[in-house]
């Protein structure tokens, strides 16, 4: 039309590119790199400690629990520690960069809280011998792999809490069908479902557990859909081994007892809430930071228990029968009476068969961490495949 268009186009385009770049910068600032907070002064005499989270600190589940651990450390140590966190850090190449930045900032101990950070943490430990690296849920040491001596792994026997919640589920079910909605068929989840089932069978030998894999760590719609599929197949008690509370809606709509995982939903779903297995990360992390301060830190491959208050149970729901509550309390007392290092007291109470009837645990046997970390079978009474 006229002779200027190309000129004005170029101007428009560059404005557009600048606008896009601004959007991009905002997005990045709003995410991984943006949020860190600190407590205490940064002057000498304080140790810097950092946490890396896979989700947002308000996810109502996994990351929120880890952040509570960080806050516990900050409150307990006051000016002796300066804590930092990075949230929404994807499991992948990005985490190596995040770790390096934290080291450059002078952090002396770094807690990484998702399994997918493991390789990057080990590599960083190799390259930075003066910094301590703490890998939650890591399994390399237990599986006998070679790791640097300034690298440690820690987790807890969540399955022990699940055994106790299983007792309540076994008592709650009327038609002996408990529906379990679970994320991925990995040893951590499989041993949890096995313990839950054994707990249910300990009070109700006829209890059957029906497992549906959602194949997602996080998809509220699929999590709800899986709970509905279990109810339509006859389950009258639900356990969702997932983070979002969407399965609770299904329980509420059908008025069925509901067990969550790793978060307390007793307030929002009081009409159906039973309890959940929970993790308490703070005390362990506090002791590790203290050891960095006084120079006694050592790799310890920690596996927390109910006895040392690392794992526990969320608040019981108001609909849980009094007899059920005392049965759970009695089992918790049993766990606490043992040695703090004792976990999995129930596995060897009897011969245990897998789904095919083959004996996988003999009476009196004690399972090692390695047995737990490699568990790949479902016990008898579970319907569903441990392969997914």
């Amino acid at each position: 039309m006229d002779t200027k268009p190309s000129h004005s186009n170029r101007r428009f385009r560059s404005v557009g590119i600048v606008a896009l770049a601004l959007l991009g910068v905002f997005a990045v600032v709003a995410t991984a790199c943006g949020k860190s907070s600190s407590s205490g002064s940064s002057s000498g005499g304080t140790v810097k400690a950092a946490w890396i989270y896979v989700g947002p600190i308000n996810d109502g589940g996994w990351t929120q629990a880890h952040n509570a651990g960080r806050e516990f450390v900050a409150t307990q140590l006051g000016s002796k520690v300066q804590t930092t966190y990075k949230e929404n850090v994807p499991e992948g190449p990005e985490v190596a960069q995040v770790i390096n930045d934290l080291i450059k900032d002078g952090n002396k101990i770094i807690f990484a809280t998702s399994y997918g950070y493991k390789e990057a943490m080990q590599a960083a430990a190799q390259a930075n011998p003066t910094v301590k690296f703490e890998m939650a849920t890591g399994d390399s040491i237990t599986l006998g792999q070679t790791v640097p001596s300034n690298y440690n792994e820690y987790y807890g026997a969540g399955e022990d809490s699940l055994y106790v919640t299983g007792i309540a589920a076994g008592k709650a079910t009327k038609n002996n069908t408990i529906g379990v909605s679970a994320p991925f068929p990995i040893p951590e989840v499989i041993r949890g479902i096995n313990a839950f089932t054994l707990g249910a069978q300990s009070v109700n030998p006829a209890a059957k557990v029906n497992v549906v894999w959602t194949k997602t760590w996080f998809d509220p719609a699929v999590e709800r859909q899986s709970a509905e599929s279990l109810v339509s197949a006859g389950a009258d008690t639900l356990f969702s081994h997932q983070d979002s509370p969407s399965a609770g809606e299904v329980a509420k709509a059908n008025n069925l007892p509901w067990f969550g995982y790793d978060s307390d939903q007793s307030g929002s779903y009081s009409s159906v809430w039973q309890t959940a297995a929970t993790y308490n990360w703070g005390p362990f992390e506090l002791s590790e930071v203290n050891k960095v301060i006084d120079g006694t830190w050592k790799q310890n491959n920690y596996y927390g228990t109910i006895a040392d208050n690392f794992t526990g149970l969320a608040q019981y729901g108001s609909t849980v029968a009094a007899a059920t509550k005392s049965a759970m309390d009695a089992e918790v007392a049993k766990a606490k009476a043992g040695d703090a290092k004792a976990f999995g007291w129930y596995w060897g109470l009897a011969d245990r068969q897998d789904q095919d009837g083959k004996t996988v645990i003999t009476k009196g046997q004690t399972l090692t961490m390695k047995d737990l970390y490699t568990m790949s079978y479902f016990v008898k009474g579970i319907s569903g495949s441990p392969k997914g």
Binding site: P5, R13, L23, G179, W213, P220, Q225, S229, G384
Partner: protein, 321 residues
């Protein structure tokens, strides 16, 4: 077990419930695409809608019949604002539509603006105060077979059916719909007969965005129903695929949305009933279908035959006429 626990009934009822956000989101996208603007920001706009709806339902006092429409309205406005950014960038500034749409999803989506707002608003600690529950329409919810499928859905599902009818009528039976399609096919020609191309594109990108907002509200008010970061979990991308899958026609897109819902339910329902087939295969089916359709639709001439707007993705510059 009653007939309504039959696997077919369960899957169909589930397909419609979980397909509802896909219906809204893909309808919104088809309006934008019919005007010639591809908007890959659906996922981000849905999350903006979800967070706005959750805020209203949590914080606005009043009875459900007041709060829920307000929540939907807030979702539409929030998502439309996101769409307006895309419209400005791609229509006025003529930025590449793919890049702008992706930027919108990254900016607004999981771990972006929507999560930031939810954080400062303290959402997600408990379920929203008001939600869309399943209705018992005409008292037929328990009727054999048709009850759970057709008469036991939420109001949002019934609204989505009206939207599909309305969008079909608008696109193919009204003068404005004809103009819209002309803008998407050949903006030069449309412009030459006096159709305001830029205004059409702005209007449909923004209104389309507001539909994505309703889709997001389906998650925070109906499916979950609370705020969870990134709660749409990729459904916005499926909505984009559905537009192609439905050949840019609202009625076929509705069928596609329910097919996706059915396939995701199939895998879970079969597992719950003890059929041990590969869940990985079933879970992959919707995506296999999408790839097949994309392959068919990838060739320019077949795209035309399938109904793809010819000017889709191309910025319109009047000077180049």
């Amino acid at each position: 077990m009653s007939i309504n626990d039959n696997i077919f009934v369960v899957i169909m009822a589930s397909a419609i419930f979980y397909g509802t956000p896909l219906v809204f989101a893909s309808l919104g996208e088809v309006l934008a695409e019919r005007s010639g603007v591809l908007n890959l920001g659906v996922e981000g706009m849905m999350l903006l809608g979800a967070v706005a709806a959750a805020w209203v339902s949590t914080n606005v006092g009043g009875p459900a019949f007041v709060v829920l429409p307000l929540a939907i309205l807030a979702a539409m406005v929030a998502a439309a604002l996101g769409a307006a950014i895309h419209a400005f960038l791609t229509i006025t500034l003529r930025v590449n539509q793919i890049i702008s749409g992706l930027a919108l999803t990254i900016f607004a989506g999981a771990a972006g603006l929507s999560s930031y707002l939810a954080g400062i608003w303290h959402l997600g600690q408990s379920p929203v105060a008001h939600q869309f529950l399943r209705l018992d329409v005409f008292g037929l919810a328990d009727a054999p077979v048709v009850g759970p499928i057709l008469f036991h859905q939420t109001l949002l599902t019934y609204i989505s059916w009206i939207f599909v009818l309305g969008a079909s009528f608008y696109l193919f039976k009204t003068r404005m719909g004809l103009h819209l399609r002309a803008v998407g096919e050949s903006p030069q020609t449309a412009d030459s007969v006096g159709i305001p191309v830029v205004r059409y594109r702005y209007a449909h990108v923004i209104i389309g965005g507001s539909f994505a907002g309703i889709a997001g509200a389906c998650f925070s008010l109906m499916i979950v129903p609370t705020w969870v970061d990134g709660m749409t979990a990729g459904q916005g991308w499926i909505a984009l695929a559905l537009v192609i899958f439905g050949f840019w026609r609202p009625d076929l897109m509705l069928v596609g949305a329910y097919l996706f819902g059915a396939l995701s339910s199939l895998s879970l329902t079969l597992q719950a009933r003890g059929f041990h087939i590969s869940t990985a295969f079933l879970a992959a089916l919707p995506y296999v279908m999408t790839i097949v359709v994309l392959v068919i639709a990838s060739n320019a001439s077949s795209r035309r035959q399938l109904g793809a707007p010819a000017a889709l993705g191309k910025p319109y510059e009047r000077e180049e006429r």
